[in-house]
């Protein structure tokens, strides 16, 4: 069966101007219990790669520059 992609608005938002992943920081990617954050090859910044979020907050709480914001997933809001 062929696959199609499915659009979804992701709850975790990263402010590229504040994110220092391009300088080697991986804190948010490291702490996420669901392992859904990654560093983009294109921008060098962290982003939510998989919409599988428990809106639990370690990524936001542990980010050293305050670049990460956790929103409530749209379906729950």
């Amino acid at each position: 069966m062929p696959l199609a992609t499915y659009q979804t608005s992701v709850p975790v938002v990263v402010d590229d101007a504040k994110c220092i992943a391009d300088k080697g920081c991986t804190v948010c990617v490291d702490v996420c219990p669901l392992d859904v954050l990654r560093i983009s090859d294109m921008t060098g910044k962290a982003y939510m790669a998989y919409d599988e979020c428990w809106y639990c907050m370690p990524c936001e709480a542990d980010c050293p520059t305050g670049a990460v914001t956790v929103n409530i997933p749209y379906l729950l809001r």
Binding site: M1, D30, V31, P33, D35, W54, Y55, P58, I72, P73
Partner: protein
């Protein structure tokens, strides 16, 4: 390297005691094992990252079952938990917990984890349960994980993050031999030989589908997909009372606790649409959940947690805990909805079903030393059968597991690994990555969990269960023959689906075995609506025997703390009686 690329690799290491799961019970088990024998190697394996894994990822707002001298006695607590569980309790383990948990509180305090104290410096314990007083708030409970992590580093516990254990290995003599695990970001295998293994992988919390439809919006940390239940089952260990589901009263849609344990002692209460109380006690029991369920369907729903009658300062104090600890996005959620606790009550709903002894009694069967029925295999925390054990139970029973497992490891050599078994497991794990075409794990998972809601959620109806089990078997075929994973992250999800499927099958099988109703909503069988003590005053043990799922009865151990006849049904009287 492309993101989450699958890499071919296998390495093997060995240790004396292996702890699987770094949430709550796991770190304590690892610490205690290491303290018992500092020369031994203790490995803590974690699917996520020990810094922020498990149910208490962002801390905890309080101890729900603290037996503190001056407030409660071990006898009283054992009695309360026995009654709340309709008598189906091996009291020895509960009593041992109740005797030891105060020393664990003191130890946590020495780690820098703070508990609420009154002006005299005594612990400020609150009453939430039906009978006794056991709730100890933790207004700065957000420090728990960090404090634990410091202790793990200090004790030089070897931590392996991002490895998911997939199957336990046993030696020819039936003793535990180790585990097969797979890296969640590269799909490389790590086989760990161990003299003793402690399972601390948390609840089966991704079993039912939340009513929001968001697959990861579960009550439990969504990483807790029941992997330990599945691994224990395939290793031949017995699992107890899986039909005693976990179902909780939660903030509607947000699906986290409101939390009556925090707000209740300040005067908040559960109310119906007439702003009236309908339950006597907010402590989570199956009997209370049945009244909650009945109220929702009665025309007097929705059900609310009501705070608006409280003083502004009191509400502020409640908010400062609720919006900072355990599930800090609670505040963000209410803000988004425009709900101000001063003006509006919090709309509540019931959660999806799960398996969890933290709040109910469904777990891998353990004795009072956290031993499972497989020699050298231990379990603690939400996935082990000590009922209603909550966070403090995870710490305390984790501590028992760590001590006994190290003793076992000190007295046994490694059991021989079976190379054929490892090769077969590798093939099973990688099968979804070998397919060019197929169904993605998220669809298999959604369908499995939707069927759990449609057919397994109480009230439990035999005809529905028969259909549900048939449909689940069809989806299992899809999972085993057609599921496809394109990278290591999808493989992680595919492996979790297998755990979820196993837990669904076990929940259904156990529920059909117990032909009576017990534990209120948790096991309400419409075809057998009455409690039947003559035939079913017993545990049920489920296990894999000759490759087949089998259930059997097991007698309840003689009580340590006797329960008088007029006390036995105290938890059945949850509904507020009408007054003139």
């Amino acid at each position: 390297m492309a993101m989450d690329e699958i890499i071919d690799g296998l390495s093997e290491v060995s240790c004396d005691v292996l702890v699987i799961g770094g949430g709550t019970a796991g770190p304590m088990a690892a610490l205690k094992a290491k303290m018992k024998n500092p020369k031994a190697n203790v490995v803590l394996l974690e699917k996520a990252n020990v810094k922020r894994s498990g149910a208490i990822s962002m801390g905890m707002d309080g101890l729900n079952n603290a037996v503190i001298p001056g407030y409660a006695t071990p006898e009283q607590y054992t009695k309360e938990i026995t009654i709340a569980n309709d008598g189906i309790v091996d009291q020895k383990a509960v009593y041992k917990y109740a005797q030891s948990c105060y020393s664990i509180i003191e130890e946590l305090d020495s780690f820098g984890i703070r508990f609420l104290k009154n002006e005299n410096g005594d612990y400020a314990v609150k009453k939430v349960h039906h009978i006794g007083t056991y709730v100890l708030p933790m207004p700065n409970g957000e420090t728990v994980k960090k404090a634990l992590y410091r202790q793990l580093r200090r004790a030089r516990i070897l931590i392996s993050n991002r490895y998911m254990a997939t199957r336990l290995l046993k030696g020819a003599d039936g003793r535990i031999a180790g585990v097969v695990s797979v890296n969640t970001r590269t799909a490389e295998f790590l086989v760990i030989k161990a003299k003793a293994v402690i399972l601390c992988t948390g609840a089966a919390g991704r079993l039912g589908l939340p009513t929001s439809g968001y697959m990861f919006g579960t009550y439990e940390n969504a990483a807790n997909s029941g992997d330990g239940y599945a691994m224990a089952y395939h290793a031949g260990a017995a699992l107890a009372n899986l039909e005693c589901y976990q179902i909780n009263p939660l903030i509607k849609d947000y699906n986290g606790p409101a939390c009556a344990y925090v707000a209740g002692p300040f005067g908040a209460f559960t109310a119906n649409n007439e702003d009236r109380r309908f339950i006597e006690c907010d402590y989570w029991s199956g009997q209370m959940m049945l009244e909650f369920y009945n109220e929702l369907l009665s025309g007097k729903g929705p059900v609310f947690l009501q705070l608006k009658h409280l003083h502004d300062k009191t509400i502020e104090e409640i908010e400062s805990t609720l919006h900072k600890v355990e599930r800090p996005t609670r505040g963000l959620f209410q803000q988004g909805r425009g709900v101000d606790y001063r003006k509006e009550s919090i709309e509540m709903h019931i959660s999806e079903i799960g398996l969890c002894s933290g709040h109910s009694a469904s777990g891998v069967f353990v004795d009072d030393n956290a031993r499972t029925t497989v020699p050298g295999l231990y379990a603690a925390g939400d996935m082990a059968s000590v009922p209603h054990n909550y966070m403090l139970g995870a710490f305390t029973n984790g501590s028992f597991a760590g001590l006994d497992a190290m003793e076992f490891a000190d007295n046994h050599d490694f059991a021989e690994l079976d190379a054929g078994e490892i090769a077969r497991e590798r093939d099973r794990v990688l099968a979804p990555t070998k397919r060019e075409d197929g169904i993605p794990p998220n669809q298999v998972e959604y369908k499995t969990r939707r069927l759990v809601n449609d057919y397994l959620q109480p009230p439990k109806v035999t005809r529905k269960y028969e259909l549900g089990m048939r449909r689940l078997a069809e989806v299992r075929d899809d999972m085993e023959q057609r599921m496809m994973a394109r990278n290591s992250h999808e493989l992680l999800r595919a492996l979790e689906v297998a755990s979820i499927m196993d837990c669904a099958d076990m929940a259904a099988h156990a529920s059909m075995f117990r032909e009576e109703s017990r534990w209120g909503l948790y096991h309400w069988r419409t075809d057998f609506p009455e409690k039947d003590d003559a035939n079913w005053f017993c545990h049920t043990l489920l296990s894999k025997q000759n490759g087949r799922m089998t259930s059997e009865k097991r007698a309840v151990e003689p009580y340590v703390v006797p329960i008088a006849d007029d006390e036995k049904d105290l938890y059945d009287k949850q509904r507020v009686r009408a007054t003139a």
